[in-house]
Symmetry: none
Subunit: 199 residues, 4 copies
């Protein structure tokens, strides 16, 4: 198969993932049907299966796709030559920016991946499908510790704080209970997290 054709098929795969991602994030895994996805992509149901051999596999490929996307955004921050405190804030900013510009990404992460364990059980054990994302958080954390800015504690304790907090805020936003815009919380959250994690 020529590279050109391969690229074309790969491109279509990504289009399908993007389309499915939006539908899943909006309506949930079980309320999004394959016909729904096919229709959104203007393709036949049967052809969908030439790209993804099952709905579950599609869901798994999407979470890897999301993880890579988020991981890459964080990598940009990790690569910056700024203080740990500034990085902390930047991470929150980028997370909320994505939650605002590409809400389906964060929603997929929170509502589909975290909540439908049975779907991801086989093939995504122990968070390997969100590996790229976690890795960047780990780099951020260990660098902060190495620099003497962050307290040396179990990584997962720090990870749970950081990600649970941000996920929780996005969830509250989705429930319309937040009195202010997400961005208006950045200062508070930034301060809270830094206070919690710093030495």
């Amino acid at each position: 198969m020529s590279t050109k054709i391969k690229d074309k098929k790969l491109k279509r795969k990504e289009e399908i993932m993007q389309g499915a991602l939006e539908l899943f994030a909006t309506n949930g895994f079980y309320n999004t049907t394959i016909p729904d996805i096919a229709k959104a992509l203007k393709m036949s149901v049967g052809n969908m299966y030439n790209y993804f051999s099952s709905k579950d596999i599609l869901a798994k490929e999407i979470i890897s796709f999301v993880s890579k996307y988020l991981g890459n955004e964080l990598k940009n921050i990790n690569d910056m030559d700024i203080s740990t405190k500034e990085k902390t804030k930047k991470i929150i900013e980028v997370y909320f920016k994505i939650a605002s510009v590409k809400p389906e990404m964060i929603d997929y992460f929170l509502r589909i991946y975290l909540s439908n364990r049975e779907v991801f059980k086989n093939g995504c054990e122990g968070m390997i499908c969100v590996n790229e994302f976690i890795t960047e958080i780990m780099i951020y954390f260990e660098e902060g510790v190495a620099k003497g800015n962050l307290r040396d504690q179990d990584f997962f304790s720090a990870f749970g704080l950081f990600m649970g907090y941000l996920g929780g805020m996005v969830f509250l936003k989705g429930e319309n209970v937040l009195p202010k815009d997400l961005n208006d919380y950045i200062e508070d959250i930034s301060l809270n997290i830094y206070k919690a994690l710093s030495v």
Copy 2:
């Protein structure tokens, strides 16, 4: 209808909710069928509908039930005559204790309620179905602020931190990625949260 009969029916309702709670928490909302629930309770599907007129309504009554249960546990802490710092730790302890002894409660909260927005959309708007639970967190927080122990910030920022963090840790536990037992994190988490929220 006599009170006795009413009580009997109420008791049966709670038994159903408890049974359904376990199944929903274990298998998810869409992978738990009404026949599954009826079977677990040794009753007929038809009779189930004498107690709950739809699956959605059952799910909504359960979240209120869970909220009341969790709220009550927190109330016991709020009623104690101890410092804010101690209360912070106690809340974490009780949360993890429930996650260990009655995991279906926390799982229902995290996996069913937080993740199936469509189910709770009508009737549980804006978290009113978890009202009792949130109220107690609010009391804890405002009391801490009043006492001068906690920094005065937007409540939801504090709430997102506290609950996102704890939920995140339970989730990580469920994914088997935590190297230690949940209880071994209590000190760290306690410290992190208190550092974050205190003045």
Copy 3:
């Protein structure tokens, strides 16, 4: 559950088996759909599954049903006080009678059971689902040997002859290649089989 209700459900099960038997025998296993069967029985597709939890299981229950029916017909012959030679002929007669009056029985045996190994693989290993039928042939054969009428040889060699022959004739009839009616072959076949098996 009361016996009356149980009987009613059992009766309905048998009606379904009979209806499905006819369709399978006529159109083949893969060309008979569950909707086809449901329609023939004037019931809904979903309700079919209250009686048989899968198409394969339905097929397996039918072959047992057929085996019992055929076995019973043969038992009547085995119970008769007639010579082995006469029994040989009677068996052929009854086989052809069934092939003519209830052709679906023989057709199911030949076309569905013998030919769709994959369907019967799990649950009908080693012909246990046609046990009743084979048992009667075995009784006929061993009795004939004991009486000194039939040559003592490996049972399966005799069984293959008898059943292969009859099945072959019914098949040829079905293909419309036989110049005469099946019954007109009884004398010939009877003679051939008896000559082959007798001492």
Copy 4:
């Protein structure tokens, strides 16, 4: 089109038939897909249709192919200058040899051709697609009758006996119910058939 090219195409056709034959015999007609066959032959599905315009037509061409192959094997025996009794045994031997060396041939005959009437209905009426095979059995039989060795009876009665018996034995072998190897039955079967058919 030059003869060379024609030959090449014919050769490819036969390769496809051989490949499809094995898959059909192993998995059945309805459980073998065109993509399966194409894959086994390392060709594209589209190209398959340049050789056979439909799955049914492929199946029909295969049965003719099988019939010719089996017919040819029998012709070799018919051409021998040996007694009818010896020929009878030789036919059984060669049938079992093929069942052992090229089981797909016999399996195709028994499981695909004999059992999926609907597929062969149009185009193979009255066994014309297995014409070559039947013809040789007919020659064997009529020669035996002419020589005064076999009883003069309706050909189909003899044919049903011979082929039903051998098919039945192969089937029993396939079901793993035979206590001995197929070849160990040759003497018995040979004797049975000759006793049945001889004058």
